[in-house]
Symmetry: C2
Subunit: 234 residues, 2 copies
């Protein structure tokens, strides 16, 4: 099976809005619904698991009922405190449903509503072939490294620098086994599935993203998102 | 003296427009004029040097005449083939004018029209104190390093990752001396003034930028720039 896991555990407090940013609307449709729809409408995706904070489960279920009509299963489950815990809750849910083996799981930020069919297909191919992949775009800006935030330590060659987007996609069983091999302490430090693979020195393939596959992070991003829809999704 | 050097040498072919992107208009005002104006209007800036491709010198001079009225000197000079050569042409011009010593030079991308007075002041302070500084913002996305563009090599801790913006500001004489100490071959590999300092293991201070201090790189950025003006500059 190809399972999309839309991760919306976070409270999204950075935006300073009353509503977490995944629930804000872009041209009348909530961000999270746009993200779920991008996967559910893709013919290669069999199922969607949406992981949210406990107090949003019924709210998100209602949103889905209102906005999405699909024969495919969409499960709304409770995420964890951290991104790692949320990932684990998805994998445990898949195990309980006996769909962990031979599945590809595409984990995706709920606040990234502009993932395309091409990106989804490329993720599935790469996860099947390599076990793990991360959607990336090349860096436009120069990136600098500074441990103290005061002085520049190093400037990596721009040709080697990539911005991670999502989806990150995995052989679900392999990801779960790698997590189980880690100490709780090590796992807590990691923020995503790809870090689990790199922690074990396992290869993570790079899949090409899109510059418009943005994360809704700041208030301006809603306006920007509207422009992206007008330009790319009409 | 505090000298702003607005660097517009590039032909800006990435955008796929007939006109290089620094000459596109945002709400009726060309990008390059907005960048020059940000400095010229700042009371701490004494002079502006605008470095452009040879065939744009008269065009830019006309634009400045049309859009800017200021008592301060604005010189339009010919830039080089590379960003490094363009930087050198500015420093040589300053030497010819006998203003290289005891000057701070603030080098700035012509395609970054939203530099603020606060950023300019902080650059002047940092360049005076440390000899070199770079305007930066913290990374929102996770950054990945990959030499082959196929598999992830490392994931630097996000707290240590910064996006370089401009201005980059320098003790002008010191920058010039450091460049003269380098072989032509080494210098050609570098893309900016800060790299000259790091090449010599000299400290470069980090000045806080703004997320809206964007570079006009892609066609969508013009629309985004209009939104930034409406939100931050009205």
């Amino acid at each position: 099976m190809r399972v999309a896991a839309v991760l919306a555990g976070g409270k999204g407090l950075r935006m300073g809005t009353a509503v977490p940013k995944q629930y804000l609307e872009i041209l009348g449709v909530p961000v999270i619904i746009r993200s779920i729809n991008a996967f559910i409408k893709n013919p290669e995706i069999d199922m969607c698991i949406v992981s949210v904070a406990a107090d949003y489960i019924s709210y998100v279920s209602e949103l889905i009922k209102k906005h999405i009509s699909s024969d495919k299963d969409i499960f709304v489950i409770e995420g964890g405190e951290t991104r790692g815990d949320t990932l684990l809750s998805v994998l445990r849910f898949m195990e309980d449903k006996s769909i962990l083996n031979e599945s590809i799981v595409l984990t995706h930020d709920a606040v990234r509503p502009f993932v395309t069919d091409r990106i989804i297909s490329d993720n599935i191919r790469a996860a099947e072939k390599y076990g793990a992949c991360n959607t990336c775009v090349t860096a436009v800006d120069t990136i600098l490294i500074s441990s103290d935030g005061e002085f520049i330590e190093s400037v990596p060659d721009r040709r080697t620098v990539f911005h991670a987007q999502t989806p990150q996609s995995f052989n679900a069983r392999k990801l779960y086994e790698l997590i189980k091999k880690m100490s709780e302490e090590d796992f807590e430090k990691l923020t995503d599935g790809c870090s689990v693979f790199t922690f074990h020195n396992e290869k993570v393939n790079i899949v090409r993203g899109e510059n418009f596959n943005i994360k809704i992070t700041y208030p301006d991003d809603i306006k920007r998102a509207e422009d992206i829809i007008i330009q790319y999704f009409n």
